[in-house]
């Protein structure tokens, strides 16, 4: 049984399809990498799932068998789907701990009070190695730390599905290795399902169970990382450019 | 018919008023709430110059130059910090700053010129137009507006600066990459927008008169027309100006000015809610 199912999902921006009649099934506990050239519709797809964008045609998006279509982002979050966006979006007036506590207090299915929410936040920050920075203003964090912070905020609401959008972009090699390890441990600890948009091939080969290739909003190929990378259509559409980028 | 002609004449004034506002908003992201005060400042300078015995054309030229200069002064002084911000934050800060400027200017103008009015409507002969008698002052004012609006459109469509203005209006960062100097173009747009406000003082002086307390009302009218035409759209402002001018003339005749004003305000609200890009733009956003 798939934890996430998409059927015939289409989103057009002014006539041009960004996501085109797409079907997708994600099995529980898998890490699914979503790759494709710039403008392939990857971010749009994640935002269709998390409720930030409404699809153009009806189609269906189901999570754990429940319909996500027509729900607003906070409802989707409370149902167990957390997102880390492509650009860091942090709460600049807050400390690291407060920022993560927002995720704990509002994100989970049950209503946490202030005290317990802060405890959960402190615990998650500790686990992700950001405990030492908990009382620092988030505006002072580095890009890498902000990414970890966002991951922490997402996890603080105890999601079952995690949507990651190019969280590795802009990190240096050391940070990248550290972040890959972080995502791996998160997956192992929590048994999370992860749908992960990424350009950094190293990270994908290290972590992904399945790879789905998007181009022009359609599925071009799918399979294990090895299979996909050998597929000539994929090499043509994506890796030719992707290889240069890395 | 007479009502419609009256409305068109009034609408052309509204269009002139609103294009200045919308041009500046489109390019600089500044919604200048002191726009009406520019008109008033121009009118007061013109009236004082006329009172001092200056020739009419010189006095009116001075008036227009005053408004243009005041606008560009605003751009290079108080508004400078605004341009460090982007998007919503820029719009909000400029809104609050120009609101402050509007109060400051209003207080100063009303204090300094409590009884001065720019009034050019010396007994002008009436002329026959489309079988209707109209005041020639009104015809002259409309012609001035048409020439100014036409000149603006030609400038935007055909010249290099015009293209620079239009490209910056669409995409500030992109245009900057292509070598358009945003600061210079912005100053030019403030001069243009301000001068058009100055022209409004002249044309309003022709058809009726402008006093020191008219600032807020003028700004509100400019806002309504700008919104109905779509914020930042010059052609929209022209069309909306003429349209609302006619609506105003016809409605004012039948139901009085108070309710007419309510109609215009409601029109602006409805446009924002239903078609935020203005009457010429596509629905929704």
């Amino acid at each position: 049984m798939a934890i996430l199912e998409l059927r015939g999902v289409t989103k057009r921006f002014g006539g041009l399809p960004a996501v085109d009649d797409l079907d997708l099934d994600v099995a529980p506990g898998r890490v699914v990498a979503l790759i494709g050239p710039n403008g392939a519709g990857k971010s749009t797809l994640l935002q269709l799932i998390n409720g930030l964008i409404a699809p153009t045609t009806a189609g269906a998006i189901r999570f754990e068998g429940r319909d996500l279509l027509g729900r607003s982002p906070h409802e989707v979050r409370r149902m167990g789907v957390a997102t880390v966006m492509q650009r860091p979006r942090v709460f600049t007036s807050m400390s690291t701990l407060e920022d993560v506590a927002v995720g704990a207090r509002f994100g989970g299915g049950e209503r946490l009070r202030e005290g317990p929410a802060t405890e959960v936040a402190a615990e998650v920050l500790e686990r992700l190695g950001l405990g030492a920075r908990r009382d620092v203003s988030v505006a002072e964090l580095t890009l890498h730390e902000q990414r970890v912070l966002e991951l922490a905020r997402a996890l603080a609401g105890r999601p079952r599905l995690l949507l990651l959008d190019e969280v590795m972009a802009g990190l240096n090699p050391t940070e990248l290795t550290a972040f890959v390890e972080l995502v791996r441990s998160v997956r192992d600890d929590a048994g999370l399902t992860i749908v992960w948009v990424e350009h950094v091939m190293r990270a994908i080969t290290a972590l992904a169970d399945d790879v789905v290739v998007l181009a022009l909003g359609r599925r071009l190929a799918a399979g294990s990382p090895d299979e996909v990378m050998r597929d000539p259509r994929v090499i043509e559409a994506y890796l030719g450019r992707g290889a240069q980028r890395c | 018919m007479a009502l419609v002609l009256d409305g068109v004449a009034f609408g052309l004034q509204l269009a002139l008023l609103a294009t200045g506002l919308t041009l500046i908003y489109g390019l600089a992201g500044v919604l200048n709430l002191a726009h009406g005060q520019l008109v008033v400042a121009a009118a007061m300078v013109g009236a004082v110059a006329l009172g001092a015995g200056a020739p009419v054309l010189l006095a009116l030229g001075l008036a227009v130059v005053t408004a243009g200069a005041a606008a560009v002064l605003l751009d290079v002084t108080l508004l400078r910090p605004v341009y460090r911000l982007r998007g919503q934050a820029r719009v909000l800060l400029s809104l609050l700053l120009t609101l402050g400027v509007a109060f400051a200017a209003d207080g100063l103008l009303v204090h300094s010129f409590p009884f001065t009015r720019l009034n050019l409507s010396v007994a002008t002969p009436s002329v026959e137009l489309l079988g209707v008698t109209v005041r020639s002052a009104s015809v002259v004012a409309s012609l001035v507006a048409i020439v100014a609006l036409g000149g603006l459109v030609v400038l935007l469509r055909t010249t290099r600066v015009g293209r620079a203005i239009r490209s910056l209006t669409q995409d500030e960062e992109g245009a900057q990459l292509c070598g358009v100097d945003p600061g210079r173009t912005r100053r030019l747009v403030f001069v243009l927008g301000g001068s058009m406000a100055g022209l409004v003082a002249v044309t309003q002086g022709l058809v009726s008169s402008v006093g020191a307390t008219s600032g807020l009302d003028l700004t509100i009218f400019a806002l309504i027309v700008t919104v109905v035409g779509g914020l930042g759209r010059v052609s929209g402002a022209v069309v909306a100006g003429v349209l609302l001018g006619v609506v105003h003339a016809v409605a004012a005749f039948h139901i009085g000015t108070v309710l007419t004003f309510v109609i215009l305000l409601v029109a602006a609200i409805v446009v924002i809610l239903v078609r935020p890009s203005g009457i010429l733009g596509g629905a929704g956003s």
């Binding site: 007036s93 927002v102 609401g157 | 108080l78 719009v91 909000l92 800060l93 700053l97 400051a104």
Partner: protein
């Protein structure tokens, strides 16, 4: 930068965790304000000035909740207060209903209008500038309907209020304490919300609406709640003020009369601070009296103050004094750590 679209408070501090420290400033402020009339010997002139001070401070608390906490630029404080006032007065005059019925009815109407405006803004996803224009247009529509609907509203001359005539409500001293109680009530509500789950949501959405929604904050509901509560605050003050004055007219609630002043008060005191509205109201009221001889030029002073605040002094007075205090403390006081 944070606060409404990066404009307001730099480095908002979370409300204190302990209840004592959270509500102490309100206690201190209300004691000080309660002692003022006694120290001034209860002169009628100062009392009526005091009432005006408390009224504008209460309006500013409401604006602080709507604009400071949820970044909704409502330019219709006067109209919302006025809607409640006229509603209450008309119900009282026409149907002879008592104040304890008509004032809540007015408050209800204001809350409905404020919530409606918020709801429209949220569901149409209005950007701040469009909400500003819509609410400004709403203000002007309100004023013009008052002027146009002569039979109901008395037009330009307004209405004389029958309810409350000859009672303590009309006495300056009693009214002063009544409006003080209203202000304290507003401050307590403001602080309680700030410390609640809803207040956490406000802080998050004020920093970044999208991130807040993705973290599970119901942004739409939070904003509409702020609109309803803020408008109810405005309405309660407006309707009570009408009952106290015994008279309502369009100018009492005009944009230039209420909204402009409230904006200056809140900007001066500090957007997003608990006592900013009170401090701002005191300063504006005092300065206003001192500048009375200037006549029209007072407006110029307001304008310059607004420009200066938004150019360089965006924290407002409360926060500036606090940071000065803390700096002085670290320099002079013995360090305990």
């Amino acid at each position: 930068m944070s606060g409404p679209l990066g404009l307001g408070p730099g480095g908002v501090v979370a409300p204190p965790a302990s209840s004592l420290r959270a509500y102490l400033p309100i206690v201190v402020a209300s004691v000080v304000l309660a002692l003022v009339p006694l120290s001034l010997g209860g002169s009628r002139y100062f009392l009526s000035l005091g009432v005006h001070l408390l009224v504008v401070a209460s309006y500013a608390v409401a604006f602080n909740l709507v604009f400071g906490s949820t970044s909704q630029l409502f330019l219709c404080q006067g109209a919302l207060a006025g809607a409640a006032a006229y509603c209450s007065v008309i119900l009282g005059n026409r149907y002879g209903l008592p104040l304890w019925l008509t004032i809540p009815a007015g408050v209800g109407l204001a809350a409905l209008l404020g919530g409606g405006l918020s709801w429209v803004a949220v569901s149409r996803r209005l950007e701040v500038i469009y909400l500003g224009i819509v609410t400004l247009a709403f203000s002007l529509v309100f004023t013009n309907l008052l002027l146009g609907g002569r039979e109901l509203t008395g037009g330009e001359t307004g209405l004389v209020v029958d309810g409350g005539a000859g009672t303590w409500l009309r006495s300056p001293a009693a009214a002063y304490y009544l409006f003080l109680a209203l202000l304290v009530g507003h401050l307590v509500v403001y602080r309680a919300i700030e410390r609640s789950r809803l207040g956490w949501g406000f802080r998050a959405l004020r920093d970044d609406e999208v991130a807040a929604a993705l973290a599970g904050v119901d942004v739409a509901r939070a904003k509409v709640t702020a609109g309803v509560v803020g408008a109810a605050m405005l309405g309660s003050v407006g309707a009570t003020f009408a009952a106290h004055e015994g008279f309502v007219s369009p100018t009492t609630f005009a944009f230039g009369e209420v909204d402009v002043r409230v904006l200056v008060v809140l900007a001066l005191g500090g957007v997003g601070t608990l006592l900013g509205p009170v401090v701002g109201a005191v300063v504006v009221t005092v300065v206003d009296e001192l500048l009375r001889p200037l006549g029209q030029l007072r407006l110029t002073v307001y304008g310059v103050v607004l420009v200066v605040i938004f150019l360089g002094f965006r924290q407002g007075m409360v926060r500036s004094v606090r940071s000065l205090w803390m700096r002085a403390g670290t320099r002079a006081g013995p360090r305990t750590d």
